[in-house]
Subunit: 171 residues, 2 copies
Amino acid sequence: MSITLFSASQPVFRNALTNLHHLLEKARADAATRGYDPQMLVSYRLAPDMLPFKSQVFIACDAAKLCLARLGGLDAPKFDDTENTLEELQGRIQKTLDWLATVPASAIDGQEAREITFPVGKAGTRTMLGEDYLKSWALPNVFFHVTTAYAILRHNGVPLGKRDYLVGPAA
Amino acid sequence: MSITLFSASQPVFRNALTNLHHLLEKARADAATRGYDPQMLVSYRLAPDMLPFKSQVFIACDAAKLCLARLGGLDAPKFDDTENTLEELQGRIQKTLDWLATVPASAIDGQEAREITFPVGKAGTRTMLGEDYLKSWALPNVFFHVTTAYAILRHNGVPLGKRDYLVGPAA
């Protein structure tokens, strides 16, 4: 018995992004309850040279999408990063989830040793085998951006607990 | 070809904690360069009801350690959360890494369907099968606390980039 490349990637990403969608739902409710402009959250940064909240959402979505696209040699839809409200960001997450749901296990399993070359930084690239790419790049990257989104919301007083991140809508 | 439970857990945790150790190294250097008291970082919280930096390190270490201990039915060393400087926290990470390195693949592989019952919250428990426990609880949890530690350092101006989180000492 062993884990498959598909089971270690697609459902993990779907779970993380479903929970991210839930965090934004709680942020919208908090803005309504406390009566502040939710656009403050959309553009909030934890440091002046960190990316804003909306970019955390963009990259979490794209890191998951591009991982499966690269592993499976699939064409993924391109999104233009135009979302600029919490609702629109939830739409972006949902579009990503919808595409992830179309990826068949057969496209991913067996690609453990596929060479994946992907952009890094502004001009570079990096090449890893499929299994390494998932475990030491894509998974940490998706969780990084979901957690940073969580941290931005928590820092601004949105009432979240780790259960919202781990368990999501059922929390 | 497929991923093993061991390869999806132990090396991923070792990588994440090695990179966390590296983040603390950069934090120590930054405190020395800018001439501030690094204890400020040790106790810093992103929100008054979030855990401080040192607890992010404790939990990142313990989530990795306890995952392997539970999957393998192993006795892991217990640490008492007494570390209270950046250097001591690096020692805690190193002790955890040293123990992780002793876990043999044979203790973990084959435990995919083992029932794992673990504490959740202040009084509850949760039971999951080994593979699910790794993918939907332990991995997201470790990355959550490493990323939150990163966010606290970045928020305080420690010069880090995502390469430090993903690549670590080689960044």
